[in-house]
Symmetry: C2
Subunit: 226 residues, 2 copies
DNA sequence: ACCTGAACACCGTTCAAGT
DNA sequence: ACCTGAACACCGTTCAAGT
């Protein structure tokens, strides 16, 4: 055995190295920037080598999504009120897709069924803890999941639509201006809320939606149910 | 002028013919089936000819989405209660993406900002009619939109994931079995609702979510607000 | 067992050339 | 003005050949 026999070759390929390189590449070049050729070049190898460790591009994207989401859902809130635990889980996903917009596309596109299952379980378990009866449980948890995935899809889409340098306020400013320019008679609502779009905070709005659904869930099963 | 001078050449290319051929192709071969080569072949021309009428594939998909959604939102409900009008608009989108799953991907991916704006306006206007105060209006309408887009994204993803022949009950059966097979201690929620997944109706569940959010909206602004 | 890189079968898109 | 179709610049993926 040579003197270096025990040292791990840091440049040896492995599934983990490929996945983390893919995440880095997705983060700084976007969804379109990840190609097997570019990824192989980054790992100083040929594209064919990657196929020994991952089956195809879809599996690679799913693995990258799983890795990011595992970190996002790491905080399992046991000592919280169910409402708070739901907010924690939802915000965990939100923050993950804010940091890695491409995760939003993968998640809402069901690229990783196991990741979606994990999110659904986290949300559903707390809805259960909320005391929602079995008959309403599935619908309530599904509403939360669909909402979260809807936000995820839009974040990914927004990141894809603009050129990398564009700042969020600039985007909101442009869209707000578009709404202001619409015919008030044909678009009374958009015209009214154009100002709020410009000033709103994405994270705060996301949480407001979660709270709205939570209010609906408790109201339908509480004293004020219609 | 020849005898046929007034007759429109039915084989002449036009934006409308290209878009409707694209819709037909998307419907029966899925998102991956639409290529400029195949579309050109269907219209008995070369791929380059299409570029005279549409700028690129993205514009074509946006135009196809707009065309389908315009039909879906055609019924403008003026003589309804706001709640009913919201359900009508939401169900219009739902039915459109059920009939054309690829529309779900385009819509949730913001491929056509104008289409999303139209849906947002429809929903928001009725939330306004519900008597929601200006301060809560934007959040309330956004919650509805995000929920609708989340469902849209998942429908498209489901259609993409399975081979064309698979029937919906078969999919639900498979996913339900997967949930049943999970460790009950690790996945108490999924284990509990596995049975309901198998029996649930997609459209009914979609509407239940809409109603949940509507309940939340009215509760937050009504006598039972916390 | 793992890596290499040329090659295959596609894409979207362009553009000189036609009518 | 509109259409043609070969060509360009890419992809994901495969696979004989190496080590």
């Amino acid at each position: 055995m040579s003197r270096w026999g025990m040292a791990a070759r840091t440049d040896a390929l492995s599934r983990e190295r490929i996945v983390s390189a893919a995440i880095a590449m997705l983060d700084d070049t976007g969804e379109t920037g990840l190609t097997f050729r570019a990824l192989a070049a980054r790992l100083t190898t040929g594209p064919g080598a990657l196929y020994w460790h991952v089956a195809n591009k879809g599996e690679l994207l799913a693995a990258a999504t799983d890795a990011v989401l595992a970190g996002a859902l790491a905080a399992d809130a046991t000592e919280q009120t169910p409402q708070h635990a739901i907010r924690t889980a939802a915000v965990g996903v939100f923050d993950a897709i804010t940091a890695h917009p491409w995760v939003g596309a993968q998640l809402s596109g069901l690229a990783s069924p196991s990741a979606v299952r994990e999110v659904f379980e986290r949300l559903g378990r707390q809805v259960q803890a909320l005391g929602v009866p079995p008959s309403a449980l599935f619908h309530a948890a599904s509403a939360l999941l669909n909402y979260v995935l809807g936000v995820a899809a839009q974040h990914a889409a927004n990141a894809r639509a603009v050129e990398p340098g564009t700042t969020r306020p600039a985007i909101l400013e442009a869209e707000s201006a578009a709404w202001t320019g619409l015919d008030p008679a044909a678009y009374p609502f958009l015209h009214t809320v154009a100002g709020e779009l410009r000033e709103h905070d994405d994270r705060e709005q996301f949480l407001a939606g979660i709270d709205l659904i939570l209010t609906g869930i408790t109201a339908q099963n509480g004293p004020c149910a219609s």
